[in-house]
């Protein structure tokens, strides 16, 4: 899969996804959106972007959740179109992108069932890109082993459950452990798959997935301070790829507070910069925001090279970031709280 043969199967889709990317909301549009007084103003300004009349059928008192849903629906339509047009190995690659959403949906459904919500309340909250058959059947079982035998073994995520099937009942703590274990298996599998896809894709996706793995390792560490998660358990949740593997991981396992984590990140130049520029004051950006900024910078790099699959992954991530941005601005507009309205992450 190189520049000679890529266009046979994937040239059209590459052109198409670059067209979608040029429709991503630009800085000038964000400035307009920030000036809006009401959500109807926002809707008017969004009509001049690539979104067009997507909100035209919604009844008049617009809510932020409706805007969120419709933005997500547009991404889903575009992604599904590309997925149906693609052939192996691009179709496998696009499927891997959806597995992340599937993991989130499974965890959402299990948690919702634990809290006695009905399945019909939970299904609309699931991300459409991560839907699979028999999603409704996830409410039936109470231990993970039963759930696996009944439903999950038929999903594409079946091999990721090997490390976390147990006879215990599912409860609050181990649902997060299950989520992180699944995600770790998924990231490692995705990483291995990308290595088979030719040099450009492998190079780009290695860097991107390494950052994703490192970000998860750091976030899990920081979030686990003050919880019941033991250090050994923490070590089993870190994905075994990325820059921090293996020495950084052993250092993170021993970390006890935020300063220790920052000290570990000092050894890696990109993460040191992210920690330095973040902080907990209201005027500074949070670490999570800096991670998002770094991710956007990495995603934009995908479009500088031709003939690789990274552009599809980058497009999905950039549209998600755009979704978060527009919803942030919409929330600030709806609550008339203009001070942090510029807290979105600029993309283009």
């Amino acid at each position: 899969m190189n520049s000679l043969n890529f266009n046979i199967d994937f040239g059209y889709l590459e052109g198409l996804v670059r067209g979608f990317k040029s429709g991503i909301v630009k800085q000038a549009d964000y400035l307009n959106l920030m000036q809006c007084e009401t959500l109807d103003d926002l809707k008017l300004h969004l009509q001049s972007t690539d979104y067009g009349n997507f909100l035209s059928n919604e009844p008049s008192p617009l809510q932020v959740s409706i805007i969120d849903d419709k933005i997500r629906e547009k991404l889903v339509i575009e992604f599904e179109h590309m997925r149906t047009q693609s052939v192996v190995p691009l179709s496998t690659f696009l499927d891997y992108i959806t597995y992340g959403y599937m993991i989130d949906n499974i965890v959402l459904l299990i948690t919702g069932t634990l809290h006695q919500h009905t399945i019909s309340e939970l299904i609309p909250k699931c991300h459409p890109l991560g839907s699979f058959e028999q999603m409704e059947a996830l409410s039936i079982a109470s231990t993970l082993l039963e759930l696996y035998n009944a439903v999950l073994v038929d999903t594409p995520l079946a091999p990721y459950f090997i490390d976390c099937i147990s006879e215990q009942d599912i409860d609050e703590l181990n649902i997060e452990i299950i989520r992180n274990t699944l995600y770790r298996a998924y990231l490692e599998d995705f990483y291995k798959f990308c290595q088979t896809l030719g040099s450009t894709t492998a190079d780009y996706m290695s860097e991107v997935l390494a950052f994703e793995a490192d970000r998860r390792a750091i976030t899990i560490t920081i979030n686990s301070f003050g919880t019941e998660l033991t250090k050994d358990d923490r070590a089993t949740l870190f994905p075994r790829c990325g820059k921090l593997f293996p020495e950084g991981h052993s250092a993170l396992v021993r970390a006890d507070d935020y300063e220790h984590v920052r000290a570990v990140a000092e050894f890696y130049s990109e993460y040191r910069i992210l920690f330095e520029e973040s902080g907990n004051n209201p005027t500074e950006k949070t670490l999570e925001d800096k991670f998002f900024e770094h991710e956007v910078m990495l995603m934009k790099k995908a479009f500088l090279e031709q003939f690789h699959f990274g552009i599809f992954y980058a497009y999905v991530k950039l549209k998600e970031q755009e979704n978060r941005n527009i919803v942030w601005i919409a929330e600030c507009v709806a609550q008339r709280h203009q001070t942090r309205i510029d807290g979105y992450i600029p993309i283009f």
Binding site: M1, S3, L4, N5, N7, I8, G11, Y12, L13, E14, G15, L16, V17, R18, G19, F20, S22, G23, P89, T196, Q306
Partner: protein, 211 residues
């Protein structure tokens, strides 16, 4: 994933294996005299070389043109969905690729015009050596000319195709980029022209026939 060259590798390996086995057999059974390159070159017909040259010339040019056209064409299709203005302007890249196939046809016609019938039985003893070597020279020239034009057009077509694909995608984002990238394409298509020029030089001295 199997690369597109796998069948080529398989054929080459089998040919090499056959050659080595045969060499060992002949050497060990004292039949080394059978490897007679002189006999091979003298007794193969100049017609075979000439027609191989014509065939390779036109077919490799067409492969190059086809490669270029599909590479550029699929990018134009994809980019034209969200940026319809690029559709007409980028057909220029397709025309550059097509030109490569036209060079192939021209050279095939020129080479085949040089090819005439000769009859060794009509030659007298005095002129046999000179006519024989002249006809062999003609055969090899036409073969060489066909290879020259074929391979240079093959790579020219691939080059123009890949650059044209980039031009279409860049044009879809920012229309001022198209003219700049077109200059790169023009340089790319010049190399096909070099092949044609040298091929003509090779073939003009080829004289086949009974005189």
């Amino acid at each position: 994933m199997a690369s597109v060259l796998t069948p080529v590798y398989i054929v080459l390996t089998m040919a090499l294996a056959a050659f080595l086995i045969l060499s060992f057999y002949y050497t060990l059974t004292d039949q080394g005299y059978r490897y007679n390159i002189g006999w091979l070159l003298q007794d193969t017909s100049p017609y075979m070389w000439a027609n191989l040259g014509i065939g390779l010339g036109i077919s490799l040019s067409v492969v190059g043109a086809a490669w270029g056209i599909f590479t550029t064409g699929s990018s134009i299709l994809g980019g034209g969905v969200k940026a319809p203005r690029i559709r007409t302007k980028n057909l220029v890249s397709i025309i550059f690729c097509e030109a490569v196939a036209i060079y192939g046809i021209i050279m095939a016609i020129v080479i085949s015009n040089q090819e005439t019938v000769f009859n060794p039985q009509k030659w007298s003893e005095a002129e046999r050596y000179q006519l024989s070597s002249q006809n062999h020279h003609a055969g090899y020239s036409m073969f060489g000319a066909g290879l020259t034009v074929g391979f240079s057009n093959l790579f020219c077509g691939i080059c123009v195709g890949i650059v044209g694909s980039g031009a279409a995608l860049a044009d879809a984002q920012n229309s001022s980029l198209f003219v700049k990238i077109l200059i790169v394409e023009i340089f790319g298509s010049a190399i096909g022209l070099f092949g044609v020029i040298i091929s003509i030089l090779q073939v003009t001295h080829a004289k086949m026939g009974d005189k």
